[in-house]
Symmetry: C2
Subunit: 98 residues, 2 copies
DNA sequence: CGGTGATGTCAGCACGCGCTGATCAAACGT
DNA sequence: ACGTTTGATCAGCGCGTGCTGACATCACCG
């Protein structure tokens, strides 16, 4: 669970991209239409999402389809679930301040 | 599930704070010792974490103890779990590009 | 083969944001 | 009461990073 992955998913524009991709696979032109962002802007965001393994690209002729990698999202979910679980136990412990 | 909450948790320093607080409740002086950051730096981070509801502060005389709010972490986990679940179905759908 | 449209890349700019240092308030110990 | 310590707040600085615009590339179509 790298910080880079969490930071990549926490950006508003990229979070929007991820949300759109949870419905169906989309090519960049769809994302341009849905988000209103420029193609170069989206291309930069998609490159970052690729670099952290959150999405993968499938060139299809002139277009490029993007899809999510569910395992990665599942890993993020598990990460926060573990933090939540441990934090429940932590409420019972208080380190003395001396 | 606000973007602000996700962004707050994605910052490396704040992620470290959260991780430390999953073990036990700590006051700011402990966090200073554990992270090596300055108290004003930590105070700023803690204020942001408070503003998004991730932690709560309990003044105890001269000290201030901080603890996580497990429900919030659980909500974040559930958020990503839902994305992961939906994304699995999305792999079977591909919007035509015309 | 040119023309067009889809996508990627990069340099440059601007804004956001994290870090610092100074200051202040409150609480404890002497 | 006074000094010390904890912690919060704020202004200012600097760096990271997202956005843009121009250019390059590749695939399709006439």
């Amino acid at each position: 669970m790298t910080d880079e992955l969490l930071r990549a998913l926490a950006d508003p524009t990229r979070a929007r991209i991820v949300e759109l991709l949870t419905v169906e696979q989309l090519c960049v032109c769809h994302l341009v239409a849905e988000t209103g962002a420029t193609s170069s802007n989206l291309s930069n965001h998609l490159r970052l999402l690729r670099s952290v393994g959150a999405v993968e690209a499938e060139p299809a002729g002139r277009y490029t389809y993007y899809r999510l990698r569910p395992e990665v999202l599942e890993a993020v979910s598990a990460h926060y679930a573990a933090l939540a679980s441990r934090s429940r136990l932590a409420l019972a412990v208080k380190r003395p301040c001396d």
